[in-house]
Each structure stands twice: as C-alpha cells, then as structure tokens.
Symmetry: C2
Subunit: 342 residues, 2 copies
C-alpha cells in the first residue's frame, strides 16, 4: 500500500475535478491510499455520488488556499493552514506518505517543496521534469522545464543525473541523454552550454550522446533532454503549442472539404481518437519535481479528473520505484570536482 | 525588373536543385532576373533540359565552394573565388542587385553577409527571421532564430523593430510583438529578458503585447516573436520537430487501422496534401537575415527546387517591398538612449 497526498484545493477545477480524479485513481489501483487536504465540506460535496473504497481515502481539513495571485514564498510562510502547506508538512513528517500531487500554482508548489520537504543532499537546484511523446511511440523527459530560469553548469549535470535516474525507474535501461542547444557541434551555445557540454562528456553514470537541437527532442533518438530552465520551458511550451496548431490546421482542412468530412465520419474517427490520446499531454500525468526528498508531481493547472488520476498514479509509481533512492545512488558515484564547481 | 543573385553551389542538393529552383522562379515571375554563381560547367549541365527565359538568367563562373566543414570567417576571407563570396561581392557592388539567396552553411552566409555586404547603420547584431504557420492560418515571424547565441537587451529591441518592419512589408498593418519567455508575467525570465521587457514596453514604433510563452508563438495571437538567438533557435527547431512527430503519429495510426486506411485513400488524400503544404516549412521559403544592407535569404540546407524557388521569390519580394528602407526608417524614430545602452 502506498499513500499519496493530494492538494484538493489547487488548480482551476478544484476541488471537484481533483477529488474525482483521486477517486478514479483509487478505483484503478487497489494498492493506493489517498489523503486529500482542503476544505472538508467542499471535498465531501465533491465526493457525494462517487463510488470508491472509502477505507483508502482520508480527508484532512484545512481552511486556507494558495492561489496563483499569491507570492509563493510569502504564501508558503504565512498560509500555514493552506491545503498545500498542510499536505507538504504531512509529506515530510509522515513516514508512510510516499508522494504528493498538486495542480496549484507552480511557483508555490516548487517553493513549498523546497522549504517544507527539502532537497536531496547534493542537489542545489531541483528541476521540473515532464514527459513528452516521441515520433517513435516512446517518451522523452525534458529537464529542467522551468524551475530555474538561470542555471550553472553543475545544475545541468544534476539534471542529467536525475533525468537518467527517473528514466531508469520508468524502464529505460540505458537512457540516452542529450544537451539541448542551438546546434549539434560541441562548441555550440552560450558559455553555460559550452561548459556544460564538457562536464557532461565526462560525467560518470550517464550515457551522454552530445548536443542535440530542438527538433531532436521528440524524434525518439534521446530519452532525456537536458535544458536550462529558461529554454527548456520554451521548448516544452512550443511543443505543446505546435501540436495544438497542427491539430487545428488538420481540423480546419477536414472541415473545409466534404469528401474529407465523410471520410472522417465513416472511417477515421477511431484513429483520430488514438492520435489525440498520444498527443494529449494531460494523459501523461504531471511533471515530476526531481531533487526533492520525496516525489512531488505538479499537474497542469487546467487538469480535469483524468489528468489528476494520471498524476496520482504517476506519484505512486515514482514512490514505489525508489526514484529518490536511485537519484541518491547516482549522486554518490559522481566526481566531487563537479560538486565543487557549484 | 529585380535582380536576385543565387549561390548555385550551397546546400545538400547543389547545384541541380538550386539551378532548377531558380529556373522555376524565373517561370513564375516575369519581373525577375537571376544571377547564378558557381561552377559554370556544372550549372550548365543542371540547366540542360530545363525551359526558362535565358535572357533573364546569367551565370557567373567561380572555382571554389564553401562547405559546412569550413570555418566561416576563415572561409569568407580565404575562398575569394567561392560561389558565396563572389555572390556577396556582387550584391554589395552591383547597384541593380536586389537580394541574395543561399542554401549553404548558415555560419558562412551570416559571416559573409556581415563582412562583405555590411550591417544597416545602427544595427549591431543582424538576426535570422523565418516565418512559421499559425493555428489561425496566418504567419508568425521568429526573430532571432539563431544568429546570436548571446544577446543584450538592445539587440532584442532591434529584433522587435526589424521584425515589425518585415511584417509590415508582408502586409500586416500593425504587427503584434511578443517577447518569448518562460511565463507571461512581466518579472519572468533571466535578467536579459527582464530588462528587455522594460525597454520593449517603452519602445517607439512597435506594438508590444508583453511576454508570451512558447505555446503562444504559433497561436495566431502575435505576428512577431522576439527571442534571443539561443532560445529562438530551440523554439524554431522544436516547432519543426513537433510538427514532424505529430504527422508521424498520425501516419502510424492511420496505417495501423484498416478503416482509417480506406478512409484516407478514398476521401482524405486531398485534405492531407493541403495540410502538409501548410505545415511544410520548405514552402515558406527561407529565413531572411535582417539587419544587412540588402535582403539575404538563407534557405534550408536540404532545400529542393520548390523551396529554392520560394526563397528566390521571397528575396525578390523583400527587395521590391523596400524592407531595408523600412528598417532604416524605424531605427530613425528610436530613442537614442536605447542605442547608447548597446
């Protein structure tokens, strides 16, 4: 049995869709236990009419909510009875708590995880690590996708190690790690990426395949795309935006042709449903925050029940697979010189 | 009549496809004159069998070729009889030459344009500016898409001015300019982007809509996406890679279902051809190098005749629309304070 704590009040569709998603996850996994933090009255309202195993669900009442309008650091310090802070405190103190999920403010989740749960020893900068689908049908991890707008070379080394550890726990035996820059030659990029290239080339424990370009991220040729948090965020969101734009162009063209409309209605609806499923990032759960003492999953702010369910199962998998232990082990094998360069 | 010079030896498919593309462009536009620089024997071989108006085509023989393996600056200085250097010299010295196209090494084209043609007065860093399709059926310009891996805030202001000028000559009346960062709030990004935000907010002559995210680039809500050359290159190539990955996922799903295969063959081939055309960046010609005294268009290295043709017509349009004059005029209206911050 693995216990996952869920911030029931974070996200655009909280608490209804969060609560519904948690109940879905309980139905899909009999080894899962869920703790919901938030307004007990509202949570119970959202639970009414849902069928789930009540013995595996616990509600912890709290009175405050942190929103996107709150300044993260201040909110974490002051809103001590918020669903986020109460959840993170429990994650830290309750040994049986395996992981945490929130669809709330990214800044607050990140800051809260740092201040209330703490970093893995040796990791100076935790990083956001979502998965994207690839052209070959697999997945690719992007790390860092936005936690750190400014990075040092040692941070990118840690991202490579943590991404490798995470890909391994997801079943990739010897993950291929690429450094995302503006060209494949080793001298490409700004000083940060040039220096990172040389550190990554010699870094123990990872399979570094060199510099890659934006177009290689989703090609299926790499498993871990290492980025500084600024350009990684742009890459992630450009990928999301492009997928939406392409689907929109396809829709417009199908709609504007009678033949295509008929073909779609008669023959292709099923295929397109599958396509949408592959491309819909909400099906991929959330982005794991790597470098924190316990798995923290940040779901999209706009998450509906299905995405919340995926994120809860993802947190459970991360907890059960020993992700944090794997990261610690990889760090232990690293040359101290690199740590000293921090 | 507008004269465009074409580097017949640059690119993976040179000279055959370059020559073929130039001939196609001559057939499509009766006001176009083309000068091909390169190995006369090989060019004439490639011309054999093509039908075109020979009176509007001139071949200038030269003996050397600059490849991707050459170090750009050294090659531009030493290979004086290369197709690229001969073409750029002619672009600079021949008053009747309106623009230039090459599918050769990006570094060499950029360096050559800087050293042999020269910058527009006031622009310290010319920038690469390709167009991408948007979800709403229009186009969006990305500037800088890779010429400058390291930028200062003043460079991003110049990119905004040049992108606005280019969008105007393409028929967009009051182009909306967004600064691509890792979030829409004004404090987002690293110091470069934070400072750029404040300069852009007060910059005369542009319509600044604020910070945008990667997902907004192709949404159709902006006309000019201002980026530093490092993250701009990653955004551009991630968009290309994502479009390819999405199309590949669609193909796989259509192939794996008999119903979808039938539907595709009977009804949807036409719609998909149109979709491919919208998404195929080769149809968008090349990326214009903005900030150079005359229009320089860099076509993809893998360009075939059709893309070369589009790039030649694009160079002619840029020359005929007074793009360089428009940029000069915009610079004249700018606060000198900004120039001083360079």
């Amino acid at each position: 049995m693995i216990k996952i704590i869920v911030d029931a009040m974070g996200g655009d569709n909280a608490p209804q869709e969060i609560v519904k998603g948690a109940a879905m996850a309980l139905n899909q996994d009999k080894d899962l236990q869920v703790v919901l933090t938030g307004d007990e009255g509202k949570i119970k309202e959202s639970l009414a009419g849902l069928s789930y195993d009540a013995a595996r669900l616990q509600v912890v009442h709290c009175t405050e909510v942190i929103t996107n309008d709150d300044a993260p650091t201040l909110a974490i310090r002051q809103k001590k009875d918020s669903s986020l802070v109460v959840a993170l405190k429990m994650l830290k103190e309750d040994e049986s708590a395996g992981g945490f999920v929130s669809a709330g403010s990214t800044g607050a989740v990140l800051t809260g995880a740092l201040l209330r749960v703490g970093r893995i020893r040796g990791i100076s900068r935790p990083a956001v690590c979502p998965a994207l689908p690839t052209a070959k049908g697999g997945k690719v991890l992007i790390i860092d996708a936005g936690a750190n707008a400014e990075c040092k070379p040692v941070n990118l080394c840690h991202f490579a190690l943590m991404g490798t550890a995470y890909a391994r726990t997801m079943g990739v035996k010897d993950p291929r790690v690429g450094l995302v820059t503006n060209g494949t030659e080793e001298h490409k990029g700004d000083p940060l990426h040039q220096e990172s290239y040389h550190l990554l080339k010699d870094l123990a424990g990872i399979r570094f395949v060199g510099n890659v370009e934006g177009r290689d991220i989703m090609s299926g040729d790499i498993d871990v795309a290492v980025c500084d948090g600024f350009s990684g965020n742009i890459a992630l969101k450009t990928a999301e935006g492009t997928a939406l734009a392409v689907m929109s162009v396809i829709k417009q063209n199908i709609k504007s042709s009678l033949a295509a409309k008929i073909g779609y209605a008669l023959f292709m609806r099923g295929a397109f449903k599958k396509i949408k499923k592959v491309l819909d990032y909400s099906k991929y759960g959330g982005a794991v925050l790597l470098g924190i003492e316990k798995p923290v999953v940040k779901a999209h702010g706009s998450s509906k029940a299905e995405s919340v369910c995926a994120a809860v199962l993802q947190a459970k998998e991360a907890a059960g697979s020993g992700l944090v232990g794997e990261i610690r082990e990889m760090l232990a094998g690293v040359d101290l010189e690199i740590a000293a360069n921090a």
